[in-house]
Subunit: 423 residues, 2 copies
C-alpha cells in the first residue's frame, strides 16, 4: 500500500498558508500502518490537477486529496476527477438539505454555486462534513482509491478520522495490523525534565517506542507498539505506562490525548464542584480556555477580567492602598492576588476561585519584570494559597503557561481529594 | 518559468515535521515574480528521488530542492542527481577547511562521513552555508536549473535569499521583474458574498489578479500585479483598490495583512477611547482576543464573564425577573443583553461597552437554538443598540464569529467618528 497526499490550492503555492494538512494526514496514516510515499501540492488549475492525478496513480495506490471542494469557480478537484473517470456528478441529498436549512436559518439567499459543495461523483461514497458544508468523496477505480477531503483543517480532520479511515478499514483498503499507541499527558513539568526522568527507558526501548513532544503548558509522551493482537499490545503498553507512572505519576493527568482544561472540567463535573476566576494579565484567557469546553457551564460560574486597577477596586473590592501609592505593593503582588481571589470568592461563592496578576510583556510594568506572575487559589474551607511564578517566553506564552499552571494545581487538588475520598 | 519545490526527507512523510520550507521558498519566489507550479515531498530513497526528479524536469524549468545534503547515509540528494547527470563529485575546499577548523575548535574527531557535506557536483556552483556545514549546489543541464538547499530552515533561508536568488538573477534564469502585491482585509462579510460583489472584476482580471481567502471572521483579498516598475505597479493596484473600495468600503478595514482586533486596538488608542465587555456565551474570548494584543491595556479596562445567571445578577445587576420565571425573556434575550451592557457600563465607565449573550452549543439552552446570539453596544452619550445574530458553525466558530461581529461593529463606529471629525 503506497499512499500519496495531494493538496490542491494556489494559496499553498504562493506560500500564503503552510501545508499542515499533509502533516496531519501523514501522522494519522502512520498510526494505522499506512506508508506515505509522496506529498504533492498543485494549484487550482484543471490541466495541472489532471496531470498530477495521472502521475500519482502511476506510482501510488491510495490518493488522498485535500482542498478544492468549496463553492467557488476555482474549486476543481471533484470536477477534474469526475471528468477523468468519465463519470457524472449528482447532489448528495442530506448535504443539500443541510445547506438549504442553514441558509434559511440565517435568513440569507443561497448563492447557486454553493450547491457544488454537495457534489458526489457517480459511484463514490459520501463522507459527511460535520463541521462544514462541502462533502467528501471516496471511490475506487482500476485499483486506485481516491479520497477527497476539504481543505480547511477543522473540516478535514474529523472527516479523515471519523469517516475516511474507518471506510478504508471496512473495505480492507488498509489492513488491520495496526500501530497501537497510547498518549500520556503531563503537566507541571517541562519536556527536558520529563525526558531526563525517562532517559534510561528511552535508551533501552525495544518493541515499545517512547517519544516525547512539548506543547505550550503540557508535555506529551507517545508509546507505540506494532502488532495484530490488541490485547497483547495493550499489555506491553500497560507495562511501560506503569513504570512511567511510578516515576512521574504526580504529573500524569491523562492517558489519552486530552487537553488539561478538558480533563479539569470533566473532573470538576464528576465531583459537582464549581469554579470562578479573577484575571488581570491573562485578560480572560483562563475563562476562555475553560468555556471553550462543551459542558463547562455546569462548573464555571464566571469571572472578572480586571485589567485596570479601577476594575480591580470596583468589581473585586481590592483596596486602593494595595494598588497605588509610594509604598503600595502594586497590582502585581502577592497581596493583590490574595485580595483579588477573596473578592471574587465573595461574589461567586464557588468551590474553587482563582486569581491571576502579573506582567505578560512585552513591556515591564510597575518596574516589575516580564514573566513575574502571582496566582492565587481559594478553596472553600481552606486557606488561600498564593504562589509566585517566574515564566519565560513572549506575551502569548506567558499568558498560556500561567493558565496551565493554575489548571495543573487545580487538577492536583482534585487528585488529593480523590485519594482522601478513597481512604 | 515554471518552478517546483522538492523537499527530500522521510520525516516529512511521517508527519514528524511540517514543510514550512516550501512556504518560505514560495513566498520568496513570488516576490521575484517566479510562479511555483508544484510542491513535492519524497522520502530518503534513491529510486524515488530519481523518479521525482524525472517527473519534475518534464514539467518544470527550475527545481529547488531542500534536504538530503547532510552527512548521514540517508542524505542522498546530491548523489542521486550527480548519478542521473553522469557527473562526478568533488569537495569544496573552503567548506572542507571550515569544517575541519570547526571540529578541531570543538576538540572532537571529525567522522569521515561529514565530508559529504562539502560535496559539489562537477560543473555546479557552490552556495555557501553561512549558518551550517552543508554547502548548496546550483547547476544548469539541458534547460533545467537545479538548486540544492539544506533542509534546516535556519540554513536554508539565508542560502536562498543571499546566495541562490542572486545567482538566478545574475544568470537571468529569473528575470528582474517582481510581483507587487497588496492585501485588503474585510470583516462583516463572508467569502461568497465578497466574491459575488467582485465577480465581474475577478472574471475580467488581466494584469492585476484578484484572489479571495476566508479566515474565521474575516476575509482577505490579495491583489497582485507583475512588473519591473514599482510606481507603475502601485498605480495599477491603487486603481483596483479604488474600485473595490467603492463597492465594499464599509467592510474594508485594512490594506495590509493585519487582524481586525489589532486594527481596532490601534484605532481606539489613536482616539484615546476605552472599552469594556460583559460576556456570557463567548466566555472571555472577547477579552482574551483584545488583551492578546500588546498595548491593549491602554484601551481595555476589563470586563465580566457572567456565565451563570447568578453572576449576571451579582456583578452586572441584571434583574432576576429577566432571567428566571415562566414569562421571563431569559438569559439569551435582547432585554438581558441590554441589561448586561448597562450594568457593565455603570461599573467600567468606558467610552464603549459591549455585551454578549447567546447559545454557542453544542446543546441548545432555554429552548433557544444553537447560534442565536444577542450583542449589545453602549457608547457614551448614545442609545444602546442590541442586535440579534443567527450564526452557523460549531461552538468555537460561533464564539469566534460573535467576537468578530462585535469588533466589526466597533470598527464601523470609529470610521463614522472619523468621518464626522473630518467634516
Amino acid at each position: 500500500m503506497k499512499a500519496e497526499i495531494i493538496a490542491v490550492g494556489t494559496e499553498l503555492l504562493l506560500g500564503q498558508i503552510v501545508n499542515t494538512n499533509a502533516q496531519y494526514i501523514s501522522q494519522q496514516l502512520a498510526l494505522v500502518g499506512v506508508d506515505v510515499f509522496y506529498h504533492t501540492v498543485v494549484g487550482d488549475n484543471a490541466k495541472r490537477i489532471q496531470q498530477t492525478i495521472e502521475t500519482a496513480r502511476d506510482r501510488s495506490d491510495l490518493l488522498i486529496f485535500t482542498g478544492g471542494l468549496g463553492p467557488t469557480m476555482d474549486d476543481l478537484t471533484k470536477d477534474v476527477l469526475a471528468e477523468m473517470l468519465g463519470r457524472k456528478m449528482t447532489y448528495d441529498e442530506p448535504a443539500m438539505a443541510k445547506m438549504t436549512e442553514m441558509f434559511a436559518g440565517r435568513g440569507i439567499h443561497m448563492v447557486e454555486s454553493n450547491k457544488r459543495q454537495a457534489h458526489v461523483i457517480d459511484g463514490a461514497d459520501v463522507l459527511q462534513n460535520s463541521t462544514g458544508l462541502a462533502v467528501g468523496n471516496v471511490l475506487q477505480h482500476n485499483g486506485t482509491t481516491y479520497v477527497l477531503l476539504p481543505g480547511p483543517p477543522r473540516e478535514m480532520k474529523p472527516m479523515l478520522d471519523n469517516e475516511a479511515i474507518p471506510w478504508l478499514q471496512r473495505r480492507q483498503v488498509i489492513d488491520q495490523s495496526s500501530l497501537y499507541t497510547r498518549m500520556l499527558k503531563f503537566a507541571g513539568i517541562g519536556e527536558s525534565g520529563l525526558e531526563n526522568a525517562l532517559l534510561d527507558l528511552i535508551e533501552q526501548q525495544t518493541d515499545t517506542t517512547i517519544a516525547t513532544y512539548a506543547k505550550e503548558g503540557e508535555v506529551l509522551v507517545r508509546l507505540a507498539v506494532k502488532g495484530t493482537d490488541r490485547t497483547e499490545a495493550e499489555l506491553k503498553l500497560d507495562q511501560v505506562e506503569r513504570e512511567i507512572r511510578t516515576r512521574l505519576g504526580l504529573h500524569l493527568y491523562a492517558t489519552e490525548d486530552l487537553p488539561l482544561p478538558e480533563v479539569l472540567v470533566k473532573q470538576l463535573t464528576q465531583y459537582g464542584l464549581t469554579l470562578s476566576a479573577a484575571e488581570s494579565c491573562t485578560g480572560g484567557m483562563f475563562a476562555d480556555t475553560i468555556t471553550a469546553i462543551p459542558g463547562s457551564s455546569h462548573v464555571f460560574a464566571g469571572g472578572a477580567v480586571t485589567y485596570s486597577n479601577e476594575m480591580k477596586e470596583r468589581i473585586l473590592g481590592v483596596p486602593h492602598e494595595l494598588l497605588e501609592g509610594e509604598h503600595a505593593p502594586g497590582a502585581v503582588s502577592e497581596q493583590t492576588a490574595k485580595a483579588m481571589v477573596e473578592g471574587m470568592q465573595d461574589i461567586a461563592d464557588t468551590d474553587f476561585t482563582v486569581a491571576i496578576t502579573g506582567v505578560a510583556g512585552p513591556d515591564h510594568s510597575e518596574r516589575k519584570p516580564v514573566g513575574l506572575v502571582y496566582i492565587a487559589i481559594a478553596e472553600k474551607g481552606k486557606e488561600v494559597v498564593v504562589e509566585e511564578l517566574r515564566l519565560n517566553g513572549d506575551r502569548e506564552g506567558i499568558r498560556r503557561r500561567t493558565v496551565y499552571a493554575i489548571m495543573y494545581r487545580l487538577w492536583r487538588r482534585l487528585q488529593e481529594r480523590s485519594v482522601h475520598n478513597a481512604m
